[in-house]
Amino acid sequence: MANTIRVEVVSAEGHMFDGDAEMVVAAATQGEVGVAAGHAPFISPLRPGDIRIINDGDDEQHFYVSGGVIEVQPKLITILADTAVRASDLDEAEIVKAKERAEALIKDRNTTVDLATAQSELVELAAQLQAIRKLKKTR
């Protein structure tokens, strides 16, 4: 058995994941980071995107987070997510529709909707879509 590290994913709605993994790949604000067991202590905010928890080569868990913080300690990785969803629970068709709506809102600047909100929504939806497509590829 390869080196593993304990990983906990906690969102504001509850515990999402608690177990050992070989590597965690997360979307930090500065770019994607892969953290394996034995990584130096590290802390960074996350941007909307997916989190992959890899254990035993082909056993992969996908999560979608809308933002949060990753903390790496010598023996524990904690991911504090604002909202976390198992990628398999995301509905691709719904997201595509919502994304189109958000894009339409941004184009139509006459509406009262705040541009910044619409843009951040779009970023989130794009990230969700990416997460779900990545999950499909790995299957």
Binding site: Q30, V69, E71
Partner: protein, 289 residues
Amino acid sequence: MAAAKEIRTKIRSIQNTQKITKAMQMVAASKMRRAQERMQATRPYAEKMVQVIGHVAGATSDETHSYLKPRAEVKRVGIILVSTDRGLCGGLNVNLFKAAVKEIAQWKEQGVEVDVCVFGRKGAGFANRLRDVNVIAEQSNLGDRPALTDVIGSVQTMLAAYDDGKVDRVLLIGNQFVNTMTQKPTVQQLIPAVAGDDLSSDHSWDYLYEPSAGEVLDTLLNRYIESQVYQGLVENVACEMAARMIAMKSATDNAGNLISELQLVYNKARQAAITQEIAEIVGGAAALS
């Protein structure tokens, strides 16, 4: 029979009150279950947050954040008070306010001014009645399911006051849900954040901060404070429902006792009236014969 009739009306009115308290008890019980579930769901996040902040506060870093450093002189403290919107929940708010008054009095003794930020209508009324306390923010009507966004406005006001040096310490006063029967008012220090005491020797490492220590700590601490206040709100809802359920249960029981006592008095009065009537008839018949 006049007395008997009066008693009967009284019994009926108490029965109606009992029906109401019974209904409120059942509503509170079902809401409590849901509130408790929500509280348990959000608890891991808040607890993890405390741990992470404890690590960061204990890390041997040159970079620190203003929320982690205690200020040398405390001239003004900010208190975030979490209370309920509605009453009829027993001694929950009263106990909380007693704890708050005690805390405020302690600071006043040291010549420290107090700023308050309140959640919940009951707390707002309480804070406005207090003299020489400055209410800087107020948020009411949060409902049974407070959202994180409800917290942010008031918390940011408090954080801005801290950043501007208007307050030098921030405390959170709220109810802690121990179990259905017990709710404990607690005072928790939010800023400066304190390192957890459960960490002994294993936290001597320093983190790699990305992008920079300042930015990471800023995001982290803001989230920390919001999550703590939010947890306080969620917990307070569970406390409110539990306290209301208990209060309404005892009200229902009391009404039941009162009814049975009155029923006894009523029966006696009715019997006395019948006896008297018979005596009169018998007396009349005896006079005729």
